[in-house]
Point group: C2
Chain length 382, copies 2
Amino acid sequence: MSAVVVVGVGMIPFGRHPEMTVAGMGADAARLALRDAGISPQHVGMGFFGNVLAGRLFGDATIGQNALWDVGIHRIPIVNVENACTSGSTAFVLACDAVAAGQVDVAIAVGSEKLFVPDVGLINSGETELDTQLGLVAPASFGLRAVRHMAEFGTTRAQLAQVAVKNRLHAARNPLAQFRNPMSLEEVLGSPMIVDPLTRLQCCPNADGAAAAIVCSERVARTLPRAAVKVEAAALCSGDYESPQDLARWGTDYRGCRLAYERAGIGPEDLDLVECHDAFTISEILHYEALGLCGPGDGGRLVDEGATQLGGRVPVNPSGGLLSRGHPPGATGLAQVFEVVTQLRGEAGSRQVEGARVGLAHCMGGDKAADTKSCTVLVLSA
Amino acid sequence: MSAVVVVGVGMIPFGRHPEMTVAGMGADAARLALRDAGISPQHVGMGFFGNVLAGRLFGDATIGQNALWDVGIHRIPIVNVENACTSGSTAFVLACDAVAAGQVDVAIAVGSEKLFVPDVGLINSGETELDTQLGLVAPASFGLRAVRHMAEFGTTRAQLAQVAVKNRLHAARNPLAQFRNPMSLEEVLGSPMIVDPLTRLQCCPNADGAAAAIVCSERVARTLPRAAVKVEAAALCSGDYESPQDLARWGTDYRGCRLAYERAGIGPEDLDLVECHDAFTISEILHYEALGLCGPGDGGRLVDEGATQLGGRVPVNPSGGLLSRGHPPGATGLAQVFEVVTQLRGEAGSRQVEGARVGLAHCMGGDKAADTKSCTVLVLSA
């Protein structure tokens, strides 16, 4: 396997885009990534497109082909990838794999999703699962995790809410984020209860959005104008359904993080910044622990002492995260790549993590009581 | 890239399975493939799952993880692939790529689909395409191709219908095919008109079904009980939308076939059998020509003279093809692999192609006036 680098990223502002299609948003993100890389469409050898709902909402079974056609990318192998909330990051992993294997010199990964459409209904990840049918939809399963974490480790409601406050502070500095108005701890705690202890401002919002990244071999990167960002690890794994899990300790999460650290040859102490899958405030706290940013059970205290805020020891979700940047599932994984690459290039403006050299992007999809279905962990370096 | 072989295949009978879920059918096919390979679930290093409609019909965004969990395959990277009618064969291509790259020693590709469900509606492949909105749904676009082929090359209605008659004759010998009762030319021509000149028996039927294949490195194959079938080529390409196409000559089809022949280092004269994407009778005739089984325009005469029938020069669709085996889009590509592997092993019973050493499986997905969206061409050898 040879080295893979990111040479271009693109992202459209997340939010409401009633005038745009899934394909159109994906095409826009792809164009931005191509322009950023200084590469023309005909140099792209393979394409991966992450999306969850195009088939369901628009009956579109070749969304990636349609989106990339508009950009001038055609004839090449194109694969549509659907892995719940890790769809975009799985597309990125496959693009890296294709380049690492020497299959192609240049590959594009695009993610796009529209959630502001009528009758979306519930995004599910298991037609036959009794727990879902009985009411264990996503917010409920995360509520259970929060209750367990509070009971076991003394995590407080204020610590949970602090995650949302911090990420909104970061989003205020990110022009592409969906929600940028700062909010107080009181506002977060006082917003309507969804599933106790998670209030509405502790659940990630619906959003429309798209993001893209172009990866290539080091040989090709040397011919391009921008400094390349190296992919140190691109790990994908699935859930472990062998035994009932500990709700305050996510097996898949720990396994995915360990895999990425091993491949990258680094540890949590080497990270300058992290983008993680804060679908709910409790998620980010659990991810701190799986990533080894603190010990098991210490996640609530970590956010409370400011360690994961911009200016802290290891800023987490400088983009605003899912909670404030917004969460179009097919696009989220690539929006994380966009943020990490932007930070490692030193181009993140007022939210820049000073001297950032190593960043990590972490995504999970399809949570159930049984376990999470899919997890991706990417490590990038300047 | 190192050599890749198929060591196990599995397929459930295609037809109506109201009692089964998409995940359940996929799990059954995966179990059959594992048993066939003589391999246990924990030796599988990566999984690819082809499906089109689970997200749309059941809101399931992690169908592959759910199906493989039931089989005892978990923790590993699993990717859900959606590429219209090439979803299953794209899953197979990615599984081959992962093994060829040395990423894993063993990978599984599964395809599963349910079409006998209420309110499927139209399977589309372009939300924004004006031609579809104006009525150019799949049967209509294939009707146009047939009319053009008849006008240009003198292809007759009887020649078109002969494709359906031949494939039903083959299906009569395939216990896994959906429709096995022989039918006459008169019956095919006399069935209700769908889009002139295509009558109902010239359009592939809806079906529920699943199929799977296990691929691995030659090193691992040597430790397994069954003789390995070698993957000589696994090509995937997308449409060319640069110029309006000739309706009687499918650019993507020609390109996909050429790519596969180049990679395999063979030509059409080396093929002992072909499984091709006979979604409509005219499709098979066009594929003959793209595959070089005859010259451009000669496809109608080729089927008429019996060259593509069992016992003929190069039997095409000995399984019965989409027209008689049935066409659950996510599963079709892997059902083709099942048939080719079964033939190359000399285990096809009364439909066995004598002395078959080289077989080809060809799939296309997402046809539009503009062009086809996706094409896979696989070459396997005993």
